[in-house]
């Protein structure tokens, strides 16, 4: 799944690269990974050439401890984040509500400079009130930056997969982990953002459906966003 996240982010950035087109140097992007868990995405983003920094947050101290332990296995990731050493990765134990949001003209390490890529992977389906939660998240996206998320659509296939296959048949997910009713459909996200000023103009809305194929891993499926797991990306205009 993780390599596909980068594939999707690259695709988003390629579709709406308006001003800085032909720069030879790789871009220096600032990432914010919300609900980073064990840090699999945060680590991979920090290893990329075009990354300036990765700030990864999660409110759970246990998972953050795992993430901190794991990053020590890679010399390229050790050291404090931005300005504090070699490493580009910073873990913060907090929820998104506690992180200071973007303010025009402010530069610095406290997050108020805003982020080029804000990621929200496999988080939305666990949230009780997606609307107010997304409002918090959006504050952190720089003008011209992207919010990229992945989640699962609320359809009969996903109901079957989550409640029967993953929990009962395979037993790979503890019972009650997912509440199918909380799932958000891609069409609902599109509608929600269509009503918001300053988001998703000029081709700044992207989606990609993915499906897990046993033996092959996660694969892209055209139109899959309508019935299962999907990526969704939206660009802040400016």
């Amino acid at each position: 799944m993780n390599p596909l996240r980068h594939t999707f982010i690259s695709r988003c950035r390629a579709t709406a690269n308006t001003s800085t087109t032909a720069s030879l140097e790789p871009p220096q992007l600032r990432y914010l990974d919300i609900g980073c868990g064990g840090g699999i995405f945060a680590e991979s983003a920090a290893r990329l050439k075009g990354t300036r920094s990765v700030t990864a947050i999660d409110p759970s101290p246990e998972v953050l401890r795992i993430a901190e332990e794991h990053r020590r296995r890679d010399p390229a990731l050790v050291g404090k984040g931005e300005g504090g050493g070699e490493g580009k990765l910073t873990y913060l134990g907090m929820g998104i509500e506690d992180l200071k949001g973007y303010k025009a003209g402010v530069k610095g390490a406290d997050g108020q400079e805003g982020y080029d890529i804000v990621t929200l992977f496999e988080v939305l389906e666990h949230v009780n009130a997606p609307g107010p939660f997304l409002e918090h998240v959006l504050q952190h996206v720089k003008p011209g930056g992207w919010l990229v998320l992945s989640t699962i659509a609320r359809t009969w296939t996903s109901w079957l997969v989550t409640n029967v296959v993953a929990e009962d048949v395979l037993g790979i997910v503890p019972k009650g982990t997912h509440e199918w009713a909380k799932y958000v459909n891609e069409s609902e996200l599109r509608e929600w953002f269509a009503k918001k000023q300053g988001w998703g103009g000029n081709g700044g809305v992207q989606a990609m459906g993915v499906v897990y194929v046993p033996g092959l891993g996660w694969k892209e499926v055209n139109g899959g966003e309508a019935w299962g797991n999907y990526f969704f990306g939206i660009r802040k205009e400016g």
Partner: protein, 495 residues
Amino acid sequence: MPPRLPLRAQRGLLSTNTPPCRILLHRCYTSPAATATPEIYDVVCVGGGPAGLSLLAGLRASPVTSGLRVALIEGQDLAKNKLQQDASLDSFSNRCSSLTPASVKNLQEIGAWTHVNAARVQPYQEMQVWDGVSDARISFDWDSARSQLTPRRPAQPTTIAYMIENLNTTTTLLSRLAELGGVDTFSPTKVDSIELGTDTEHLDLSSWPILKLSDGKALAARLLVGADGANSPVRTFAGIPSRGFDYNRHGVVASLKLEGPGWGGPDHNIAYQRFLPTGPIAMLPLPGNMATLVWSTTLERAAKLKSLPLNDFVAMVNAGFRLSPTDLEYLHTMPSGQTEEIAWREKHTPVNERSIPMRVTDAQSGTVASFPLKMRHADTYTGERVALVGDAAHTIHPLAGQGLNQGQGDAAALVRTISHAVQTGQDIGSVLALESYNSERYAENNAMLGVCDKLHRLYSVESGPIVGLRSLGLRAVDAMGPLKGFFMGRAAGGM
């Protein structure tokens, strides 16, 4: 994580045929805690043969992977083992390979092929293969491999493969690496030990292989590549068993001089292979009047051939393509005088000289040698922070000349896997990131190992219904152009 080492080492001992003592010594004599802080590398390649060098050139040549910090460790002195640019064309190394167009294409893509000493490379356009017992014959060339209804395309390739000295291949790759720069090369340097790193306050290297070198340096490898040959110490370190068997055959090699440049003239060169019950005898063209021999035979006969004076050896090679298996059996038992005996017997054995290689007039002194034929296949090509390429992963019967090409294919595939991992921010040493390399190469190499092994077994039979059936098979394949094209495509590297 100390238990991993002894356990894995034990497993390696039980299931491989490699002498285990060296590795055990390493483990016993080195202290568990690393004394000096190791230098951190993204890729450490052990072994500077064609596969390892091709991998490094591929990584350095691509902008995606050129940012990786890479090291090469080679026990031999790479600076000394180079082909001289002005080397005489009357003298060739006895270690030659048949490079497929697919391998050459890869060498072109990584920018190496322009450095080749082209005067010492001989493309060939035709293969003649026949059964030494029944004389059933198959000839391979691209023109007869098409179906009779399809017209010949002008762009159709005519070259089946390129004969090249292994030294020319490695020198070519070393020139390209010198041009690219950026490889920390330790040569001549031996690997004294490989063990896992330690978990300190700031850094947890407990999954990283740490290599201690004979010059006292220590390197930590995000990805350790074993390009270190059939007895690969890297494979032993990783606890990857390699299974297989010995054919109880030796391959006798020699650089030969022929009476002319071959029956096809200078622009149409032909490779010959005759299947004898003891194994195939093959003659492959080199530039000018030169050719290289690979004669797979029993250990006793190999020893006999190597002990003969050069004139008798030359007569035996000529006999190998002309006389019957019974004649050959007798000739191997003669203490001396093969030349005269063969001259007499050849008068009584009519052959169509134009369908077999031109007569050998001389063998280059010092080039008659032999090596044991084995088949080995590692259980897997990857482990945590370890990947195997070339002979470290597989050793094949040389009858189809695929060994070096498989190594080139491995190197190219591993470069692709590492590239993808870098582009998606993966740790290039993780099992997950390396998975695609293993799945891509294992099945392909396994199929090739199986085909070559079965061919060997098929042609070891001297009499009975199998001889008739295999002759029928050869003749049938020869008559069917498209099927032949399929076989040739495989031999040429999946084109």
